[in-house]
């Protein structure tokens, strides 16, 4: 790794960047346009996010606050845990542990650094972590392995049984940094007494582990408060996502990103609730006016991303969709499968979903265990892709519900669990009438395939499949 990268802690730099960004709109528009010139690589994103109004401001502030919590955790006597996007942070907030979600930090770094996470990706390889591993964790992991960020106290993940390359990043971090490790291990079946019992026993072991790390017991009231807030967020998300079904879809293309990012950052915390409420205000207003959320106001196509998005600099994926007048219909990341979710009800799939019961400590723990076992990817990529409750069933049901015109698979070359079956998966979605594009790019590493090439592949696909002139 280049020496100069070690000069300043990377997480501190991201924090300061977002703090500066959060203040940009405090003055006049002229001041904003002058100030934003100082953030050349971040400008495209700021313009887009601030372009949506109040929720944009809230979102930037949220990200700044997330990093602030990381930076000052130790000073405040809190422990830090590196964890993964598909692990609900609610339990950390309940125990006053500061979560550092590698994938979220990777996206934040990709958005603010000129070279994205390239140097840290490579640093991982320099210390023996395979280059074929997933770039979503590797980007940030490299910085922590290099000792270029805050001190990590523990490593917690829930991807064993779901995604090897994900958990392998955490197992590697634990071994390399010699930090305590805990894994929630998912059985291949989502439902049924055996799986439920396993999820819950495993989650109780997690709580025991976390309690041991911090030397304190879980506070029932705190957990109740957090899960009550999660429920509130579920209801807000349900309405937001239900609005997406409308024709035209009243949500701007970036809303989906903000919904899931908000939830990954602050599940069960009021910051996330405020963001969702703010997004909903705009969504409702657009819906009332039967107005598309796209910039042009015209919706030509409806796109469903069956896996994750492409986080190339400046939110270029969302720009492309907006420019091509394609409304965005979500991806795997925003589907939390709460029993409040419109799709769980509309598809009559309440069995797939979790319920929050705040009666007592046992019901609270059972609820959060069920919630965690339904997290994106954890729910639907654990078993064979065509098994009940799994990826194909979810994708087809959601794509139909949203009246999607096409499906896009985008991930990372490190994603062994989907690359292992995405070809037959896409064959099945095609058989069901959805033109399906498999992208070979890397959502987090532009060096694998440039965004220009990826964009041209999307355009070519739409043209060849006669979806767009």
């Amino acid at each position: 790794m280049r020496k100069e990268l070690k000069e300043y802690p990377f997480d501190w730099m991201i924090w300061r960047t977002f703090v500066a960004a959060a203040r940009m709109k405090a003055g006049s528009e002229k001041e904003y346009s002058q100030a934003v010139k100082q953030l050349p690589y971040f400008r495209g994103i700021l313009d887009t996010i601030y372009g949506i109004g109040e929720p944009g401001q809230l979102f930037i502030e949220m990200v700044a606050e997330y990093f602030e919590k990381i930076i000052f955790a130790r000073k405040r006597g809190q422990k830090t845990a590196i964890t993964t996007f598909c692990f609900s942070p609610a339990v950390f907030y309940a125990l006053d542990i500061v979560p550092i979600t590698l994938e979220l930090v990777t996206v934040a770094m990709g958005a603010t650094y000129k070279r994205g996470t390239a140097d840290f990706l490579d640093y991982c390889n320099e210390v023996g972590f395979t280059e074929t591993s997933c770039s979503s964790q590797r980007g940030t992991l490299g910085a922590y392995l290099a000792g270029n960020g805050v001190t990590i106290d523990m490593v917690v993940c829930d991807s064993p049984g779901v995604c090897d390359t994900n958990v392998n990043a955490f197992a590697f971090a634990s071994a390399y940094l010699d930090k305590p490790f805990f894994q929630l291990n998912m059985p291949p079946d989502l439902t049924g007494a055996r799986s439920t019992e396993y999820h819950r026993a495993d989650y109780r072991a997690l709580i025991a582990f976390l309690e041991e790390q911090i030397g304190r017991k879980l506070d029932t009231e705190k957990l109740r408060e957090i899960l009550t807030e999660v429920r509130k967020q579920d209801i807000l998300m349900a309405e937001l996502e239900e609005l997406q079904i409308l024709v035209p879809n009243p949500l701007p293309v970036t809303f989906n990103l903000l919904i899931y990012a908000g939830r990954f950052l602050f599940a069960g915390m009021p910051q996330c609730t405020r963001l969702l409420e703010s997004l909903l205000k705009i969504g409702r207003e657009n819906a009332r006016q039967n107005q598309s959320g796209l910039s042009s106001g015209k919706e030509r196509l409806r796109g469903f991303f069956c896996y994750i998005d492409h986080y190339g600099q400046d939110l270029r994926l969302w720009h492309l969709l907006d420019q091509m007048e394609i409304s965005y219909h979500g991806n795997i990341l925003s589907k939390m499968w709460s029993q409040d979710a419109y799709y769980a009800k509309a598809l009559d799939r309440l069995e797939d979903a979790y319920n929050i019961d705040t009666t007592d400590l046992d019901t609270l723990i059972d609820s959060i265990a069920d919630l965690n076992s339904r997290m994106p990817m954890i729910k639907s990529i654990r078993g064979p892709y065509d098994a009940p409750h799994m990826w194909l069933q979810d994708t087809l049901a959601l794509a139909k519900l949203h009246r999607a015109d096409f499906i896009v698979y985008n991930g990372t070359p490190g994603c062994r669990n989907t690359w292992g079956m995405v070809k037959p998966f896409a064959r099945d979605t095609e058989k069901n009438g959805f033109p399906t594009l498999i992208l070979y790019s890397d959502a987090f590493d532009m060096r694998v395939e440039s965004w220009e090439t990826t964009a041209s592949r999307i355009e070519e696909f739409l043209k060849v499949r006669r979806l767009r002139p």
């Binding site: 972590f129 064993p160 490790f181 894994q183 064979p384 062994r416 669990n417 292992g420």
Partner: protein, 378 residues
């Protein structure tokens, strides 16, 4: 004598399997060392560890698997698609790793396109990734589920008595393999790494009773004989699954001998016995879940490092080759930390990333081995 083992290790449908089938026996293949052979043996079914040897192309496999996948399950699917596994009556797939786990999906889909590719019994055996009381409970239940599925499909009953008997026979095999291991890591090496691998590979296809008797004869012959290998660099082979005798031969060349390993087609496969009292299914579950040291059991790096160190000392290893198949991130990454920690302990290591099957590049590997041996010469 060793030729008999080599024949069984390089031919999928070898003499023993042919005879078994001719006698009307059933064969069930499986993909991972976490599957208890004893369940099948107790049902008078031949358990057969699936491999990808002999795959020359990838055209069938590439139709189902994506490009960023380990070549071992790809080769295996290719062979199944080509009908080379025609003798299978069943197959068990485990979530050994993600590439192998997706063999379940891809093989079933290939079976939709080519009916002959998929055996009639097909079972996903969910092996947990951790050792806790509740994961052992899960695994005991899962093993009972496998047992019940075998009983139903093959119309057999597996009694506890039969399981005890099978456990005894397999434990005997494990003890014999451990005796061979001792001959291999002795100061005067009595068997080459390539030959030792052939024996382990043969053990995954030959009916176990016959195998035990063959191995007993081999050990007797070796012990009685005076052929010993000396003056060569003593290497240990660690990492991804390797069922390629030629790879070990390439590594050994004229100047080295592989005296130890920690591979799943190797020491991991026969280390530790199954307890022979109490509930036999629980005993099987315990042995297979707890005593099978693969990085798929996340978070136990230190345990695996100490196993390596103990073996390195016992076998007086000069250098360790840490290899992984490309896209095998579990072994590949763990190899990275092994290298750091073993080198710090003064044990020279070399990491190799390779392909499996037809893609193996012998020239490049040979060059690295030569350089590594030159390094050890100092």
């Amino acid at each position: 004598m060793i030729d008999a083992f080599h024949e069984s290790s390089t031919t999928l449908f070898n003499r023993h399997v042919r005879n078994w089938k001719t006698d009307g026996g059933k064969v069930v293949g499986y993909t991972c060392s976490y599957v208890p052979d004893e369940i099948f043996h107790a049902a008078s079914i031949l358990p057969y560890r699936l491999r990808g040897v002999g795959a020359r192309e990838m055209n069938i496999a590439d139709a189902y698997f994506g490009p960023f996948i380990c070549s071992l399950p790809k080769c295996l699917l290719q062979l199944a698609g080509e009908g080379k596994y025609h003798f299978l009556d069943g197959a068990v797939v485990t979530p050994g790793c993600d590439s192998m786990r997706r063999l379940d999906d891809c093989w079933r889909k290939a079976g939709e396109d080519r009916a002959e590719a998929l055996p009639s019994f097909f079972f996903h055996y969910a092996v947990p990734h951790k050792t806790a009381d509740y994961s052992l409970k899960w695994f005991i239940e899962e093993t009972r589920r496998l047992q019940a599925a075998v009983e139903k499909h093959f119309n057999v009953t597996i009694t506890d008595y039969q399981l005890y008997d099978s456990i005894g026979i397999y434990n005997e095999g494990r003890l014999l393999l451990s005796r061979l291991d001792a001959l291999r890591c002795a100061p005067d090496v009595a068997i080459s790494g390539a030959d030792a691998l052939a024996v382990v590979l043969a053990s995954t296809t030959i009916p176990r009773k016959s195998f035990n008797s063959l191995l007993m004869d081999l050990i007797a012959q070796i012990e009685a004989g005076s052929d010993r290998i000396s003056g060569r660099k003593r290497l240990m082979l660690v990492g991804s699954a390797n069922d390629d005798v030629e790879l070990v031969r390439l590594i050994e060349g004229d100047e080295a001998v592989v005296v130890a390993d920690n591979l799943c087609f190797g020491a991991r496969f026969y280390a530790d016995l199954v307890e022979q009292d109490g509930d036999p299914v629980a005993a099987l579950a315990k042995r297979y879940l707890y005593h099978n040291d693969c990085p798929r059991m996340f978070g136990d790096y230190k345990g695996r490092l100490s196993i390596l160190k103990e073996k390195i000392e016992r076998a007086a290893v000069d250098g360790v080759i840490l290899q992984n198949i490309r896209f095998c991130d579990l072994h590949g990454s763990e190899n990275g930390i092994f290298e750091r920690d073993l080198e710090a302990a003064g044990i020279p290591c070399m990491r190799i990333e390779r392909e499996y099957g037809p893609l193996v590049e012998t020239g490049r590997i040979r060059m690295r081995i030569d350089a590594f041996l030159e390094r050890l010469e100092k």
